[in-house]
């Protein structure tokens, strides 16, 4: 027969100061873990989940990011104009939906005056915007006019970086660019400044493109993509270009792997270290629970409860402590959901702004962790309780 649940609940209530302290202690531990996991969730979803499967990114072979890649104009032209795998715009003579882009991490002062950071500056062509479709929206002002020294700024930069408001002027090398619009676009692009490829190339005196982006024609997506990638790398027609192609999603996932791994290692390391401290605390609480209820345990054992139910009852008590602590931790972590912050993605050396995301997955991990803390903290005291000899236990006051 199992020890009634109400006994466990009441025991927790009777010793409320110890229960409360343990719960808040576990809660603080879980909250830290949840916070770091939320940071990671925000960072990885920003990149990976917003990359599109039907958009292809062409880089120079060997380069993993745009910052490293460089493609000549001839290479880009040949890719965009001759590849049948690139989709075309509406109409019988629609232009290919492929664009060469240049990319540069530009030093900009932060808006709050706390130093400088590197902001991605992207030179685009008309097709860059066209292939985004509805994902790309102008939130304020208007879109840029190609051929003019104008830029549009991602919404997330507006308040973070100096000179990113409508009407401001962004100086690039010796050329001033006017901010004519604020745009929204899902994914990391919202942390970027976009201008005309040709104008930016002139300003930077760098006539090379970093990459080509293109919307894939229906046949080249999904299963057809691998064949396309192989053809580009090994096929006789394009081999000489030394270009690799990835889907946008694969490209962005590769970029975040390094930072994602660091954040994961950080959260694992922190949870192990803080977990040890939390387990010690939980063990202490449960040990004193067992010690102060020795007499009761003696009664339980002598009226016929087997050691196993007694053991389970104390483990359950510890699990409850952990679970409630976990819930408290999640509640403590919830307010950070949606808070925007920025850090540098070392793979591209530029700052990205992203929001903490306390996802259901994050909370589930945090709760599992809190249950584990309870289990580890309760095991030894419960074992001690179950092993008590009824006669000895009864003799204690």
């Amino acid at each position: 027969m199992l020890v009634p649940l109400s006994y466990t609940l009441r025991s927790l209530f009777v010793r409320r100061s110890a229960t409360l302290l343990t719960i808040v202690g576990v809660g603080a531990t879980v909250a830290v873990l949840a916070g770091v996991l939320a940071l990671r969730a925000g960072f990885t979803t920003l990149f990976a989940q917003n990359g599109r499967e039907d958009v292809a990114v062409f880089l120079r072979d060997g380069a993993t990011s745009e910052g490293e890649s460089g493609l000549t104009r001839e290479t880009c032209d040949r890719l965009i104009k001759t590849l049948p795998q690139i989709a075309r715009g509406d109409g019988p003579e629609g232009a290919p939906l492929g664009a060469m882009e240049c990319y540069l991490a530009v030093r900009r002062p932060k808006a709050d005056g706390s130093g400088e950071t590197n902001v991605p500056f992207r030179g685009i062509e008309r097709a860059s915007i066209a292939l985004r479709g509805d994902e790309f929206r102008i939130a304020e002002g208007r879109s840029l006019e190609f051929g003019a020294d104008e830029v549009i700024v991602g919404r997330k930069l507006k308040n973070r970086i100096a000179d990113c408001q409508l009407g401001d002027v962004v100086q690039v090398n010796t050329v001033p660019f006017k901010v004519v619009g604020i745009f929204e676009c899902d994914g990391p692009f919202e942390s970027e400044i976009w201008g005309d490829f040709e104008r930016i190339s002139v300003a930077l005196q760098r006539p090379v493109a970093s990459r080509v982006v293109a919307l894939l024609a229906p046949g080249a997506t999904g299963d057809g993509f691998a064949a396309f990638a192989t053809m580009l790398k090994e096929g006789a027609d394009y081999k000489d270009l030394k270009v690799v192609v990835k889907t946008e999603r694969a490209y962005l996932t590769d970029l975040t792997n390094a930072v994602g791994t660091v954040l994961l290692a950080l959260s694992v390391g922190l949870s192990v270290i803080m977990g040890i401290a939390a387990v010690f605390t939980a063990t202490n609480t449960m040990l004193s629970a067992v010690a102060s209820r020795t007499h009761e345990i003696g009664i339980l054992l002598s009226i016929g409860f087997r050691p196993l139910p007694v053991f389970l009852s104390f483990v359950l008590e510890a699990l409850l402590l952990g679970l409630v602590g976990g819930v408290v931790g999640c509640l403590l972590a919830l307010p950070i959901n949606g808070i925007e912050t920025g850090t540098t993605n070392w793979a591209t050396f530029t700052e990205v702004a992203f929001a903490f995301r306390v996802t259901p997955g994050v909370m589930a991990s945090a709760l599992q962790f809190s249950l584990l803390l309870g289990l580890l903290g309760g095991a030894i005291p419960a074992w001690k309780a179950a092993r008590l000899a009824p006669t000895v236990a009864l003799r204690r006051r």
Partner: protein, 388 residues
């Protein structure tokens, strides 16, 4: 008077509980020191930067190369003693794209520009005698088992190798940094070799990302920096020149809110641990209530009964806290090796230890506060009536 013997006896009465409390304090203080040292490490490059060095980079971006022709013009500026190109190579070693940093430099001036890069094996002369020669850090050598004469194959991500093959560099010297501002895991190779090879393939010079300068003794840093910026005000590439400390500070600034996150985590740790210690002391008080009543009945003053509680708390926390501090200091070399090139400046400084000691004291006082006050105001009758 508080009897130390009594304090010890009480703490030993519940060995497991005392041990667990001390254990969690050790862990917590270790973690706090670790976090604080990481923040210190971020700043190491700024703190230990040499005052007589200036860095010239493109005003637009670290990724815009400066023309090679700038070198002579900058060298001619009054107050500039030595000038050295630094070009980021970004090669991939094995599967790891972030394995270590590589720079193409003007090897012939490295010893004068960077006295902190102390050559411990081989020599600059050996490097100068081999076109493909390179200097690597000791920790890099140890991590990948490299020794003098070994070949380092690097896949060029920015500069594709000859016919798409890997670049090959030969280890001709190994350095050890004289202070924590220099990364012990970097590779320096000859810029002239990069220049020849890239020119042979593309017809263009690889350029240089930055110029590092050493100013003459007594030269006015600000004036030299301003003079250099003025030289290229109208292009083709505008430049900014900054002190080495300012240059390094931009990388710290790029980390964004990291220091804030670290302190938020530290606060979480602190809250958890203070609660744990309060819990322990409350448990102890509940058990000792009866004893305290007896002691008071025997004539012990309120103060000494309260002192007994406080002494227990302070001793318990002190023991745990200081062990944690000791542990973090002892594990300093191990942590530095573990964190590797990410945090070359990892160092548990005396300030960090002092901070840890103060935190320990504060935890001890906070945990002992309530039990101490209660023990003080405890009435003998109530205490004797209470049961554990």
């Amino acid at each position: 008077m508080v009897s130390l013997k009594l304090v010890r006896r009480y703490l030993l009465r519940h060995k497991v509980r005392s041990l667990l409390t001390v254990g969690s304090l050790v862990v917590a203080l270790f973690l706090l020191c670790l976090l604080q040292s990481l923040v210190v490490a971020l700043d190491a490059g700024v703190r230990n930067a040499k005052r007589n060095r200036l860095v010239v980079q493109s005003a637009v971006s670290l990724f815009v190369d400066l023309p090679v022709a700038y070198q002579q013009k900058i060298a001619a500026v009054e107050g500039v003693q030595h000038i050295c190109k630094w070009q980021w190579f970004g090669g991939r070693y094995g599967d790891d794209p972030m394995a270590f940093a590589q720079f193409g430099v003007d090897m012939e001036v490295m010893d004068r520009l960077y006295p902190e890069v102390v050559i411990v094996e081989g020599s600059y002369v050996d490097v100068m005698a081999d076109r493909r020669g390179c200097v690597i850090g000791k920790s890099l050598a140890q991590r990948h088992g490299l020794k003098l004469g070994d070949t380092i194959p690097l896949i060029g991500t920015i500069f594709p190798g000859p016919n798409g093959a890997a670049w090959e560099f030969i280890v001709r010297a190994i350095y050890e940094p004289a202070n924590t501002a220099v990364d012990p895991g970097t590779m320096f190779f000859r810029w002239d070799y990069l220049d020849e090879s890239v020119k042979a393939m593309t017809g263009e010079s690889p350029g240089t990302g930055t110029y590092f300068l050493r100013t003459a003794p007594g030269a006015d840093q600000v004036a030299v920096a301003a003079a250099i910026e003025k030289l290229f005000e109208n292009g083709p590439q505008r430049v900014t020149s900054s002190t080495e400390a300012e240059f390094n500070a931009q990388f710290v600034s790029m980390m964004g809110n990291v220091p804030f996150f670290v302190s938020a985590i530290g606060t979480g740790v602190l809250i958890a641990i203070v609660l744990a210690c309060i819990n322990t002391m409350l448990l102890a008080f509940r058990e000792q209530q009866h004893d305290a009543g007896i002691a008071k009945a025997l004539g012990f003053t309120d103060g000494s009964v309260a002192g007994l509680m406080l002494a227990q708390s302070l001793l318990l926390c002190g023991l745990g806290g200081f062990s944690g501090l000791l542990l973090s200091k002892l594990l300093e070399p191990a942590m530095r090796a573990l964190l590797g090139s990410q945090f070359p400046g990892y160092e548990v400084t005396n300030q960090t230890l002092l901070l840890g000691a103060l935190v320990t004291l504060a935890i001890g006082l906070a945990a002992g506060l309530v039990p101490t006050l209660r023990a003080r105001s405890l009435r003998v009758v109530d205490a004797l009536r209470s049961v554990e």
